[in-house]
C-alpha cells in the first residue's frame, strides 16, 4: 500500500446554503448535557476575509474523552434516545448564528487538541483544522511561525475556550492537509 491512493477521491462540493434542515440534529452541539460537572464551552465565530460573520457555516467537532481515549460508540445523533441517555461520543455539530457564532458544550479532552472541520456556503470544500488547548506545544505547532501558530490556539474565558475561524484575511486560520490528501 502506498501513500498515493489507488483511486482518486471524489471531489468535494460546497455544503451550500440549505443544509439547515438536514445536517443539524437535536443536541448536536451538546457532547455532554449543559450543567454536567466539568462541562466547558468551546465557542467562537466564523469570519470571512473582511472580518464579517459567516452565518451559514457548520462546524464539526471530534475529540478524545477526558482521559485521552478515542470513543468508538454510536449514539451521537440520538443523544437522548433509549432508557438511559447516551454517553459521551466525542462528536458534535454546531451551526453558526447570524453573528457567525457557534458553541459546543463538551469536556476538556485528555489530548492537546480538538479536531475541527468547517463547512459553509461559499466554501467549495471542507476545511480541517485543530483547536489546541491553551499552552499546548508540539512539533507541528513549533514548526509554524508565532503568528500562524496563534490561530490554532484556543484562549480561555470564564465559560471554557474560544476558537475563532478566519476563512481568509490577516488572521487566516491554519488549515490542514494530510499526507493522503491530493489537491
Amino acid at each position: 500500500m502506498s501513500l498515493l491512493p489507488t483511486f482518486p477521491a471524489t471531489a468535494g462540493q460546497t455544503v451550500g446554503p440549505f443544509f439547515g434542515y438536514a445536517l443539524p440534529f437535536p443536541h448536536d452541539n451538546e457532547l455532554v448535557p449543559p450543567g454536567t460537572p466539568g462541562a466547558v464551552r468551546l465557542h467562537g465565530r466564523v469570519l470571512d476575509g473582511h472580518g464579517d460573520p459567516v452565518p451559514d457555516a457548520i462546524i464539526e467537532l471530534w475529540q478524545a474523552d477526558a482521559e485521552g481515549n478515542v470513543v468508538q460508540q454510536p449514539g451521537s445523533l440520538r443523544r437522548d434516545a433509549g432508557p438511559e441517555e447516551q454517553g459521551f461520543t466525542g462528536f458534535g455539530r454546531a451551526s453558526t448564528d447570524d453573528e457567525g457564532r457557534y458553541a459546543f458544550t463538551t469536556i476538556v479532552p485528555g489530548a492537546p487538541f480538538f479536531s475541527v472541520t468547517v463547512f459553509a456556503r461559499g466554501l467549495l470544500n471542507r476545511l480541517f483544522t485543530r483547536a489546541y488547548l491553551p499552552g499546548a506545544d508540539d512539533a507541528f505547532l513549533e514548526g509554524l511561525g508565532a503568528d500562524r501558530r496563534s490561530t490554532l490556539l484556543t484562549t480561555q474565558d470564564e465559560t471554557g475556550y474560544v476558537f475563532d475561524v478566519h476563512l481568509q484575511g490577516e488572521r487566516e486560520t491554519v488549515f490542514l492537509a494530510y499526507p493522503r490528501h491530493l489537491p
Binding site: 489507488t6 460546497t14 438536514a22 445523533l77 461520543t89 466525542g90 479536531s115 461559499g122 480541517f128 499526507p179
Partner: protein, 256 residues
C-alpha cells in the same frame, strides 16, 4: 415576495467566459487536480470565504486517525426512503440512488453514516431561506440518512430534484443535484459533496460544478443511469460510487 437585487450584475455569458478562461488555463497546465478550487471567482460567494494560504501538511494523530461511530441507534431504517416521511406521496419522478462508499485503496467503508438532502421536484428546498417561488411539497422534506452495509453499499429512495435559480449572477440556475455527507474510517476522510444527474444541460453554466476544473474529476460527480436498478412500474435507478481519501491508520498498520 419582494425580489432581492442580485449583488452581481454579471450575465451568464460573463460567468461562462470566466469559467472557460479557467478551463483553458487548466488544460494548458500539468493537470492532475482532483478537488474543487477553493479560490474560484465565478462562484461569487467564494471570494471572501476561501483561504489564501496553502494548507499546512501534517501527519494525522490521535482522534484524526479515527472516525465517529454511528449505529442503528442513530439511524432508523425508514430514513433511507425520502418518499415515506409524510402522510402522502411526494410529487415527482420516483428514483433509487445506490452505490458504494470506498476508501482510496478501494476498500468498502462499512456501517458508516451517509446523509443526503435535496430540493423537491419543483426545485424548492424546504429551508426557510429558499425564496424560489416554486411550490413546496407537503409530502417531501428532502432529507435522508442511512448506514452503509458490510460492502460499503448505501441506497436511498427519493424523487428527482429539480434545477433551481440562485443569485450568483443574472439568470443563474443550479443543475439538479443531491447533497451527500460522508464519513470514512478516520476523520481525515470527512467530506461533503453533490451528486448530479447525467446529461444535465446546466453543467457548462454552473460555477459550483465547474469549480472542479479537472474534467475527469468533474465527471465522477455524475451518477450513471442504471436500468438494473430501475424497477418495473415503480422507479428509475441511478448508481453513484463515492471514493474517500486514503486512510492513514491502515497504511501505518500495514507498514509496521
Amino acid at each position: 415576495m419582494t425580489a432581492v437585487a442580485t449583488s452581481d450584475s454579471a450575465s451568464q455569458a460573463d460567468v461562462t467566459a470566466e469559467i472557460a478562461a479557467i478551463a483553458t488555463s487548466y488544460a494548458e497546465g500539468s493537470g492532475g487536480e482532483t478537488q474543487p478550487r477553493l479560490d474560484y471567482p465565478p462562484y461569487r460567494s467564494s471570494l471572501l470565504r476561501h483561504p489564501t494560504k496553502a494548507p499546512q501538511q501534517v501527519d494525522p494523530e490521535g482522534v484524526e486517525l479515527w472516525a465517529p461511530v454511528f449505529g442503528e441507534l442513530d439511524v432508523d431504517a425508514t430514513e433511507a426512503d425520502l418518499t415515506v416521511q409524510h402522510a402522502g406521496e411526494p410529487i415527482g419522478e420516483r428514483i433509487v440512488v445506490e452505490g458504494r462508499v470506498l476508501d482510496g485503496d478501494g476498500r468498502p467503508v462499512r456501517h458508516q453514516l451517509v446523509e443526503v438532502w435535496q430540493a423537491n421536484s419543483a426545485g424548492r428546498y424546504i429551508h426557510q431561506r429558499d425564496q424560489h417561488p416554486a411550490p413546496l411539497d407537503p409530502n417531501f422534506t428532502g432529507m435522508g440518512r442511512c448506514l452503509t452495509d458490510a460492502d460499503g453499499r448505501y441506497r436511498f429512495t427519493s424523487i428527482k430534484p429539480g434545477p433551481y435559480p440562485w443569485r450568483n449572477h443574472r439568470n443563474a440556475w443550479r443543475p439538479a443535484h443531491i447533497h451527500f455527507s460522508l464519513f470514512g474510517t478516520e476523520f481525515t476522510q470527512r467530506m461533503v459533496t453533490q451528486m448530479y444527474f447525467p446529461g444535465d444541460p446546466l453543467f457548462p453554466l454552473d460555477p459550483i460544478y465547474q469549480s472542479v476544473v479537472d474534467p475527469a474529476a468533474r465527471e465522477r460527480l455524475v451518477a450513471t443511469y442504471d436500468h438494473d436498478l430501475t424497477q418495473p412500474e415503480w422507479c428509475t435507478g441511478y448508481r453513484w460510487d463515492i471514493v474517500l481519501t486514503g486512510a492513514h491508520r491502515t497504511l501505518m498498520e500495514a507498514q509496521q
